[in-house]
């Protein structure tokens, strides 16, 4: 159990941590994230006992790290940003040294522990090599092994996957996940997908303060656009848009253009309207291969969607529709990588829906957009087909029921409905922007 209470840290006159408090329970994996310079490494150093806070307390497994340093530190395995390696020792010697340092007295126990760890972290082949001769990836893994020796109950890992190739990153992620249940882990990373996949809770730090401290699944709820859903409905575009305009509970809606490539992606799904809750992040383990194939199809889909504006030859083009589509490539450019922790209960291509929702996130003003988007469909306006929309409803749950009944009454079956999710990256970017804004406002004052 890690607990940090009201910790303030000054480097001379500069304040780097402004009253940090959080708690990581036994067996939890916490992810610490934030822009560079936010104070993450300082926090980790303070947790490990390397630095002392100017004010505040740190408790590791119940030991105050300042008053009982030796007991506290014996509970910790620490991997700093730069792995602390002695270049003139071999890997085996080094790990033996660390083992003794951490209190494994018996030589055979140590040897066993080292061999096990070498297997787990993938350095079994280089144990006889001098550390100074190892590549970055191996050095990082030796550093990780060093943190794990002696099986300490608390692990503090600063960028455990730094400098590793993608395959190794996945291995490390598996390792950490396996360690999760019986160890308390706090790790910091820049790989947001990583954190979303592995962590039970995510702590975002900006500028020395904690901006957000929550389970990844709750983030969208607490930070995202609430009440936004993505809908696949079978019906006539014109009739549908008229219907939605007149419905009082719909704040705004947009049609999502349907590129041809998308047709192949859609897998058969049952009509199950009204699914609301997302599954927990851990379920995505099974969905990973799917997510990856979807990611491959995305670049195809994107190029398709980009071609649409060019292909349009209609005279009456809603200026808004155009800006809408222009914003899509922007939105896509911002999205670097679809987080793998997309929680999906249905297997259907809602990736374009996500991109749509992102561009909506950028527009923070709530306008009622009743403009008829069907004119953007280059093919046919007015025929009954599957349409995709992104809607923002007032008053979440109630409105959803109303929508369902409305559409059912008008014989426009809902093929698919889901809540739009905000990915960790979006939360991150939004937080950063907010803080920058606040800081600028502060300066102006």
């Amino acid at each position: 159990m890690i607990e940090i209470k009201d910790v303030v840290k000054y480097y001379g006159n500069r304040q780097v941590l402004k009253s940090i408090s959080f708690r990581v329970e036994d067996g939890q994996i916490a992810g610490l994230l934030g822009p560079n310079g936010a104070g993450k490494s300082t926090t980790m150093n303070i947790l490990a006992g390397f630095l002392s806070p100017t004010e505040g307390e740190v408790w590791i497994q119940g030991y105050d790290i300042m008053t009982s340093p030796l007991e506290g530190r014996s509970q910790i395995g620490y991997l700093p940003e730069t792995p602390p390696l002695y270049d003139d020792m071999t890997v085996e010697e080094y790990l033996d040294f660390i083992g003794r340092l951490k209190g494994i007295k018996d030589k055979d126990d140590r040897k066993k522990a080292i061999d096990e760890l070498a297997e787990k972290t993938g350095i079994a082949g280089v144990t006889q090599r001098l550390i100074g001769n190892l590549s970055k990836g191996f050095r990082q893994r030796v550093g990780l092994a060093q943190a794990l020796i002696g099986d300490p109950p608390v692990l503090i890992l600063d960028e455990p996957a730094g400098g590793l190739d993608p395959g190794q990153i996945i291995e490390i992620r598996e390792l950490i996940r396996k360690l999760g249940g019986d160890h308390t882990i706090i790790l910091s990373s820049h790989l947001l997908s990583e954190l979303q996949a592995v962590c039970d809770k995510v702590i975002i730090m900006v500028d020395g303060e904690i901006a957000l401290d929550d389970r990844p699944a709750h983030l969208a709820r607490s930070y995202g656009d609430q009440g936004r859903i993505l809908l696949t409905v079978k019906g006539e575009p014109e009739a549908l848009s008229r219907l939605l305009e007149e419905a009082g509970f719909v704040e705004e809606f947009t049609f999502i253009p349907e590129p041809e490539a998308r047709a192949g992606e859609k897998k058969k799904s049952e009509t199950r309207a009204g699914e609301k809750k997302k599954s927990e992040a851990r379920d995505e383990e099974k969905k990973e291969p799917e997510a990856e194939t979807k990611e491959k199809k995305e670049p195809e889909a994107r190029t398709e969607e980009k071609k649409e504006p060019e292909a349009e030859t209609k005279e009456k083009k809603e200026p808004e529709a155009r800006t809408e589509e222009k914003k899509e490539p922007e939105a896509r450019a911002e999205e670097k990588k679809e987080p793998e922790a997309k929680t999906q209960e249905k297997k259907s291509g809602e990736d374009s829906g996500k991109e749509e929702s992102l561009s909506h996130n950028q527009k923070k003003k709530k306008k009622k957009k009743g403009k008829k988007q069907d004119k953007t469909d280059p093919v046919t306006a007015g025929t009954t087909r599957e349409l995709r929309l992104s809607l923002k409803l007032k008053d979440g749950d109630q409105s959803r029921d109303q929508l369902f009944y409305l559409l059912a009454r008008k014989k426009m079956p809902i093929i698919h409905m889901e809540e739009a999710e905000m990915s960790l990256e979006d939360v991150f970017v939004r937080l950063i922007n907010e803080y920058n804004q606040k800081r600028e406002e502060g300066k102006e004052e």
Binding site: Y11, A48, F50, L51, L70, R73, L85, D87
Partner: protein, 288 residues
């Protein structure tokens, strides 16, 4: 502590440090030994060889101590040592003892040389042993100073250079005797300056002007009283002060054959003082 000791010893022997140390020591003592003892036939080993080669510490001590703590900071491995369940005291002592062990090895070399000498000439064993002991104690003191300097610096090269300079100055200090004024009043002034420096330091550390003022008052009062009561203490005062502090002077006594217990104690307590300051310095880094 034993663990750190072993690691440091391994490190000395895996890098060239230990070999260079012994090579240099053997060369220096060997030359003097060959020329003065073997060639000229002087049997008093300590008086003639050791007394003359104390300058070799100027190079040997930085060689051993510069990497001790500064290297850990350079390579960021101090993060490992300071977050491990080991006290800073153990770390510092372990490293210091490793350096001291190499020094002890050098003393064995001296003993060996004296032993060789005894085959040819009647060796003054009590004097020789006293001399070797003094040489060792001097070495211990200087190693402690080197360790402290190493803990202050982030760059092992800088630590080495600074240690070199300071030990050089310490060795040169006795030469000042001839230029020092003899009259008591200058000793007074010197002590007064020291009191002022102490008061300033107290003020900086505690922030309390009152404490500083109190120091000055007490110090000046004591000084004045002493001067009035015992003026003879202050005659040749400066020279006396310098000779009390001087490491070389005390060492020379040992070489002349007399094992002065108070000097031995002086060396050991200076070593202890600097080691304590090293631990203090390293611990206090946590609060920066």
């Amino acid at each position: 502590m034993i663990l750190i000791y072993q690691k440091e010893m391994k490190s000395y022997f895996h890098s060239l440090t230990a070999y260079l140390f012994f090579a240099l020591f053997l060369a220096a003592s060997g030359i003097y030994f060959s020329v003065i003892c073997l060639n000229k036939g002087y049997g008093d080993y300590a008086r003639y060889v050791l007394a003359n080669i104390s300058f070799v510490y100027i190079v040997l001590v930085p060689m051993l101590t510069m990497r001790l703590l500064a290297w850990e900071r350079e390579q960021k491995t101090d993060q490992l040592l300071l977050t491990a369940p080991i006290s800073v005291r153990s770390v510092v002592l372990g490293k210091y003892l490793a350096a001291a062990s190499l020094l002890a090895g050098a003393m064995l070399v001296c003993l060996a040389e004296a032993g060789i000498l005894s085959a040819y000439v009647q060796v003054n064993w009590p004097g020789t042993l006293a001399g070797i002991a003094g040489f060792f104690l001097l070495g211990l003191c200087l190693l402690a100073i080197g360790t402290f300097i190493s803990s202050c610096m982030t760059n092992s090269m800088a630590a080495g250079t600074l240690t070199f300079s300071i030990i050089l100055l310490l060795m040169l200090l006795p030469n000042l005797y001839e230029v020092l004024p003899e009259r008591g009043r200058y000793a007074c002034i010197f002590v007064g300056v020291l009191i002022g420096a102490a008061a300033t330091w107290i003020y900086l550390v505690t922030g309390s002007g009152r404490a500083a003022a109190a120091t000055i008052a007490l110090g000046a009062g004591g000084l004045l009283a002493a001067y009035l009561q015992f003026p003879e203490w202050f005659d040749q005062g400066l020279a006396k002060i310098i000779s009390w502090c001087s490491l070389s002077e005390r060492f020379q006594e040992f070489c002349q054959g007399s094992f002065n217990v108070s000097s031995a104690f002086f060396f050991l307590s200076m070593a202890a003082l600097f080691l304590y300051m090293t631990v203090w310095e390293t611990e206090s880094r946590r609060w920066f």
